[in-house]
Amino acid sequence: MSDATDKASEGQSFEQNLDQSAKEVAQFKVKNTSLLNRIQHLLHNNPTLVPVIVLVISLIAFGFIAGSKFFSAFNLSLILQQVSIIGILAAAQSLIIITAGIDLSVAAIMVLMSVVMGNLAVFMGVPSGLAILTGMAGGVGAGLMNGWFITKIKLPPFITTLGTWSIFYALLLWLSGAQSIRGQDIDANASFLKFFGQSFNIGGARITFSAILMVLVFVVLWYMLNKTAWGRHVYAIGDDKEAAEMSGIRTDRTLLSVYGLAGLVCAFAGWASIGRVGSISPQSFYEGNLDSITAVVIGGISLFGGRGSIMGALFGALIVGVFRSGLRLSGVDVLWQVFAIGWLIIIAVAIDQWIRRVSA
């Protein structure tokens, strides 16, 4: 008896004819080779490509419109400097959004921790290093508090962080007495707090330490997300939390670590913001929460979780910076900057949806 008939006799009677069924590999009518379709596939495999392309195009476009003032090394480094704080916040936000969450409290954690660091170092005579460490620990604590509500009390991230945004904001107003800590006081008592405000010049470009910190934060988080098991788990949770749980990931523990880490990154942003702003103001970065989400969304990270690269958020933050700078140098009213960013968000999400449909 040949092998093939043997196999068939094992199966069910209604499967007897399976042997004679078509054997060739499925051939699909190749009608999907239009340029647009190929682009869609390419973007599906490389989600960061969209923000990179947009960034390059907008750089070239503003180079033409605004001329050499825009394309100078000084202006480009200025953009980097301007987006550094929001960029770091966007890195924290990306971590949360990849898990299919959202964090409305990132900027509140950041400002709260800068106030904690300032109060300790400037008014209470605590050594700067210790004050900064306390702020970092506070950032982790604030993040873990969000994470605890989300994983243990099972509250939705949106509601949780909407609540903690107010809580942290009220705390920072109370701790600061709604007063700024002046730059001169920081310089006199705790100049280390302004560490990230320092800069150096290379060929007309002024690189601040905060911009370097931003790039470092992105590189480290990119490594963690893509090269470690923890990172794969973060993506798996954002993709399908239940499936991740069933395939053996301790999802609550991983989520807690994500929120704690995001809090730490926010505290770093708080430290960097002291150098960037030059003082500690409780009113600063009030819109930082939404700005960070804007950068993440423009960077092609899906709000539904599990998709997109954290590097996208860096490009997203840079795109916002390039648009602001380019439009300003072109002499356009500030309101049109806001207008343009609004359209960028809508277009970014529309492109995300379009790319997703490729797999369906």
Binding site: T228, A229, W230, I249, G306
Partner: protein, 258 residues
């Protein structure tokens, strides 16, 4: 008779006033495929969940290879070499086949990179995943790095089975593995099951598909009203007998009742 791989006795699980498992027994022997059948709500999923730690029974005792176990989660069971193929497969669609095979037990690089930077050894994981898929005759996918969402239903099932087969040392539980598949894909999964059994790993199969159950099972555990009604040999009974027992249309003969 050989010692059972799993021996559960007097398992009870109550949810409020509902008794999902009512003093049920359960045995799985080495090298066999044991099918668990029962009507909807009979509690066949509950008893299997109790064995793999997904639910914690209120009473009763579970012995695995003669040793008493108290699992508190499926992860405990997994650490002992018990693998589960869930009906929804528990795969992460956006991650690659290799990533999915290793979720929760990734391989890290040797030395400094792995120990301190915790870097994954992706080449090793990809090679292993490719080997396992090829062993089971599943290497029709284009690339081991391709996301699971680009695979067909049968291929996804194949990945889930390959994952279980690769890591199981005690036994595998399969929950309705052919429910969502076409005729050809079902055939493939049934062949996979026989293949896994031939390697000496016993399988617990939960299924509603009588032809599939009667084809692959060595014994059939019939669950009714929260407990084991009887265990039948598919060679001695017909499908209609089995359905009659599980729906209560017919009483099983006294010598096989549990």
């Amino acid at each position: 008779m050989t010692n059972p791989v799993v021996k559960a006795s007097g398992i009870v699980k109550r949810y409020g006033h509902v008794t999902a498992i009512d003093h049920s027994d359960f045995e799985l022997y080495p090298g066999e495929i044991l099918a668990v059948i029962g009507d909807n709500g009979a509690g066949k999923s509950s008893i299997v969940k109790a064995i793999c730690g997904a639910t914690i029974p209120d009473e009763g005792e579970i012995l695995i290879e003669g040793k008493k176990v108290n699992f508190t989660s499926p992860i405990d069971a997994r650490d002992m070499g018990i693998e589960i193929v869930y009906q929804n497969l528990a795969l992460s669609p956006a991650l690659s086949i290799a990533d999915n095979m290793f979720t929760g037990r990734e391989i890290r690089k040797e030395g400094f990179l792995g120990k301190f930077l915790r870097m994954l050894d992706k080449p090793a994981m990809e090679t292993f995943a490719r080997e396992k898929l090829t062993e089971l005759g599943l290497m029709t996918v284009q690339s081991i790095k391709q996301p699971v969402e680009t695979l067909s239903g049968g291929q996804r099932q194949g990945v889930a089975v390959a994952r279980a087969a690769a890591f199981a040392t005690k036994f595998i539980i399969m929950d309705e593995p052919t429910a969502a598949l076409g005729v050809k894909e079902s055939r493939k999964v049934l062949e996979l099951m026989k293949d896994v059994k031939a390697r000496g790993i016993p399988i617990i199969l939960i299924s509603h598909n009588m032809p599939h159950v009667f084809e692959v099972a060595d014994r059939i555990h019939v669950h009714r009203l929260g407990k084991r009604l009887c265990t039948i040999d598919p060679k001695d009974y017909t499908m209609s007998d089995a359905v009659a027992f599980m729906t209560g249309a017919k009483e099983p003969p006294a010598e096989i009742t549990a």
